[in-house]
């Protein structure tokens, strides 16, 4: 392990630890960013479940028909809208991050506003996706 000289007495700025999350009041940008991370991790864990559904939808006519059965369980009814939110929130905040990377809307007011706007886009879209998933329209 190599260490550079002159590293003594330098202030240390560490990441917020998970256990400290609740004691911080995050600004809108931090909140959207945290949810971006959270929704990403959620989808990572759900990947096999989504592949299982994808597999069933493509394997045969019978498998496709079985999807309706799977969708009728209360657990899946709970999970799928959650994952729809995760995908849509991750997508919308991801686009916001890309725009910030391109220095679009980077000043304080604009960034704070867009950090709120993402929810007004992703939440209604989630509602529509959930209604579509359960065949309301």
């Amino acid at each position: 392990m190599s260490t550079a000289p002159h590293t003594k007495n330098r202030p240390e700025f560490k990441n917020i630890h998970v256990t400290q999350i609740l004691s911080y009041r995050l600004p809108a940008g931090g909140f959207a960013s945290f949810l971006h991370r959270f929704s990403g991790a959620l989808m990572f864990l759900a990947l096999p479940f989504l592949l299982w559904l994808f597999d069933m939808s493509l394997v045969s006519e019978l498998g496709y028909a079985r999807l309706a059965e799977v969708f009728s369980s209360w657990f899946v009814k709970l999970v799928l809208p959650g994952l729809s939110w995760a995908l849509l929130h991750h997508l919308v905040t991801g686009v916001r991050h890309l725009l910030l990377d391109l220095h679009i809307g980077i000043d304080k007011q604009a960034a704070a506003r867009s950090a709120l706007v993402v929810h007004f886009i992703s939440l209604p879209l989630t509602l529509l996706a959930a209604l579509k998933l359960f065949g309301v329209f």
Binding site: A4, R37, L47, L51, S57, S60
Partner: protein, 120 residues
């Protein structure tokens, strides 16, 4: 910039930070384009039912496009999960173990998706 790096300052690293940062953004664009295109097409254009849905994945170019999107997903997820573990899991042994599990998890998902796509 260069003025900061004198003989007394040790610069180390494999410089994959910037590469991963860029790759995370590039793969995000690939996935967004694929997901929006397929999502909009499946919801608004495709007639309902198995025939049309499975038919969508029959052409080779669609299988390849889907697999490319899944490849982008795997890289993207790797960068993101690695970032999360670097931030929150400090003991090196547990962190490395989490990396290993993540890679195995993603490799398994990628192989499975090949099987799903090429059976249609």
């Amino acid at each position: 910039m260069a003025a900061n790096i004198g003989p007394r300052r040790l610069v180390v690293g494999a410089h994959y930070g910037l590469r991963d940062w860029l790759a995370q953004r590039a793969t995000a664009v690939v996935m967004a384009v694929y997901a929006i295109a397929v999502g909009v097409y499946a919801v608004f254009v495709l007639p309902p039912g198995y025939e049309a849905w499975a038919g969508l994945f029959v052409p080779l170019w669609m299988k390849v496009a889907t697999l490319v999107a899944i490849g982008a997903l795997v890289y993207h997820v790797w960068v993101g999960m690695r970032e999360i573990f670097m931030d929150y899991v400090k003991p090196t042994s547990i962190r490395l173990f989490a990396y290993l599990l993540t890679l195995l998890w993603l490799a398994a998902c990628a192989v499975w998706s090949v099987q799903i796509l090429w059976r249609v």
